[in-house]
Amino acid sequence: MDFRFTEDQITLRDSVREYLEGTHTPELLRKLDEHGNRDPQVWNGLVEMGLAGLLVPEDQGGLGMGLVEAALIAVELGRADVSEPIVDTAFVAAPWLAAKGQTDRLGDIAAGELKVALAHDVNPWIADLDQAGAVLSNGALADVASSPVVMDSVDPLRRLSARGALGGNDPLLLDLAALMSAAQLIGAADRMLALSVDYAQQREQFGQPIGSFQAVKHHAASVAVKVEFAKPVLWRAAYALQNGHARAPIHISHAKLAATDAAIFAAETAIQIHGAMGYTYEVDLHFWMKRAWALAGAWGDRTFHLKRIDDAVIGGGIDLGPDRTFASEMIHA
């Protein structure tokens, strides 16, 4: 029993964080917002970092890592508000294809040459379908129809299309995508707290930074509690799915629930701390706030995941109690 990341995992995370801090700035977000939302340079940079092949086995051109590493990186992508379909392609489609033995396009994914969009009945939309080389729908990769119907997201950097006849109800696809949405929500929550703290340090009223007032401090501290206690839930969920634990879907729902609640709370508190500035399009906060709103509903909203937990906990599907924290019955026994 050792609930820590390895030094290699920390190094990987830090290098991705550093790269995104340097390249994927709020200035870039504003530029993307004005000029079509996607920039091949951003995608190419992520591919050069090795992220497209993170979960692709080494003999197929990838790095052969697991969902714990992917979750760590997805937090960083959320922290930077990355909008390229790297998570959907590399952290959801790739492990799904590998798990199902559909390996023929994994090399293309690892090389950054194939973007995969994800279709599932749980969402009325498909993200980044218009730029995808393939769509994962009904248990297989399919070609993308020529001109998908565009839908308008509150998040200015999301590109959504109507799902149409695509979709299906694949449980592993849902679990992978919900897990990675949770990770991005955690990253967004962390960033919104950091933005709030920065603002509270700079903004002065009554002759002092507003962050010196207890009312503001306590807002920020409450967010920190919520976010910090969502993180271990996320890590355990990633570990459980990676290792085929029977409870993994429950843990993933728990992670999505905790991450959603943390991110929405962080967003509402952040706008309060920013005051009227937070209600403008001019400060950076809105990008993360809107991403949080979008991901809160994506891949099963709060009610959906609460119900999955509820069915297991109150319905009696799992053993409860202090000795059951790391119960790890296998799915594929």
């Binding site: 029993m1 010196s212 920190a224």
Partner: protein, 383 residues
């Protein structure tokens, strides 16, 4: 990351489980907050000590088992799984014990730790004063040096179970010209010393679980001071860190409550509201999150890391979780919630638990203070 127990850890769990099943009292003890129940709980401390289960993380030399933190968590899980009684000696085990191990002399360790581990001496805290609560640096109780003794005068309050305990430990001002954090010393003394008066205070539930302590020129040998004269504040901060950090409230306690809460919900499912159902599910999820976080912290500490201000995150989380869980139990019980005893004459533990849970956000440093600590030390907001 390896979230599997080793075969040795699994065998250890089985060992604890077997002992608990054989030794945990079959009928619940009376409340720890009253004299009769307190004595029953002291008896239980001695039973634990007889099995060498009193202070499992302590070195073997002082009656412990020298267990690492993961095994401590396993021990706690089995402890609460077996519905074992609350710890009458928690002030000693979790607060004073670690403090003496870190700051005490070899002689003090020998003198105080072994009787503590055997359950022979029960400890009370003596921190707060009428005008020094959240602002603990405002302490005024004096310890004036007189040869190889201190002469202590003043008043302490909110001292949990001081009406029943044998000794107390706390902070006293040894430098009478000092202000605030400076000039305080950490001193231990018997509560039956001449000049000590303990006045029990009735708590919300009606029992005298805490007390005021009056000191009227109480003579205490200098060797009862832990660490140097005037270094008491730093010692006390370390002690407070143990309290709100890892040891005081193990996750097993809340996971056990969450499990009972689910069972309570099932009994009342026909009349419960959807909101109550959601709160029960949330309670289970949050207790689980607290356990996971604790395993992460324990793993980090075990690998040589440490926690500082992060302990404040913990304290807020468990105290608000405990209150939320008991709040929903009250709503599930409906009109029966107000009854002190159940139909079979046993204590309504949900009501007792709810009342007790209201103290959680206050003791061990109020949650307002914890939020200040988080904002200033973790987030970097200005003081």
């Amino acid at each position: 990351m390896d979230l599997n127990y080793t075969p040795e850890q699994i065998a250890f769990r089985a060992e604890v489980r077997a002992w608990m099943e054989a030794n945990v009292p079959k009928t619940p003890l009376k409340t720890l907050e009253g004299r009769e129940g307190y004595d029953q709980h002291v008896e239980w401390e001695r039973t634990l000590a007889s099995g060498n289960w009193g202070m499992v993380t302590w070195p073997e030399a002082y009656g412990g088992r020298n267990l690492d933190l993961i095994r401590w968590l396993i021990f706690e899980e089995e402890y609460y799984r077996a519905k074992a009684p609350l710890r009458a000696n928690q002030n000693g085990i979790f607060l004073l014990g670690p403090t003496i191990m870190e700051y005490g002399t070899d002689e003090q360790k020998a003198r105080f730790l072994t009787p503590m581990a055997k359950g022979e001496i029960m400890w009370a805290q003596a921190w707060s004063e009428p005008n020094a609560g959240s602002d603990m640096a405002a302490i005024r109780s004096r310890a004036v040096r007189d040869g190889d003794h201190y002469v202590i005068s003043g008043q302490k309050t909110w001292s949990s179970r001081a009406a029943f305990a044998d000794w107390c430990f706390g902070l006293f001002r040894t430098d009478q010209d000092s202000k605030r954090h400076k000039g305080l010393s950490f001193i231990l003394l018997p509560l039956n010393s001449p000049g000590v008066t303990v006045r029990p205070i009735r708590q919300l539930h009606g029992e005298t679980g805490f007390a005021e302590i009056f000191f009227d020129e109480v003579r205490v040998p200098v060797e009862n001071r832990i660490a140097g004269e005037g270094e008491g504040w730093n010692v006390a901060m370390a002690t407070a860190g143990f309290e709100r950090g890892l040891m005081l409230r193990s996750p097993a306690r809340f996971q056990a409550t969450a499990k009972r809460l689910v069972e309570l919900y099932r009994q009342h499912a026909a009349t419960a509201s959807p909101a109550a159902r959601e709160a029960v599910t949330q309670a289970w999820a949050d207790a689980e999150a607290y356990a996971l976080n604790t395993y992460m912290v324990a793993s980090t500490i075990q690998a040589g890391g440490h926690i500082g201000a992060e302990a404040s995150l913990n304290k807020i989380f468990w105290s608000e979780l405990d209150r939320a869980m008991h709040r929903v139990s009250m709503s599930l019980l409906g009109a029966a919630a107000e009854l002190r005893t159940n139909a079979d004459g046993s204590l309504n533990e949900w009501l007792e638990g709810y009342i007790f849970s209201l103290s959680g956000p206050i003791y061990a440093g109020s949650n307002e203070i914890q939020r200040n600590i988080i904002a200033e030390r973790l987030l970097g907001l200005p003081r």
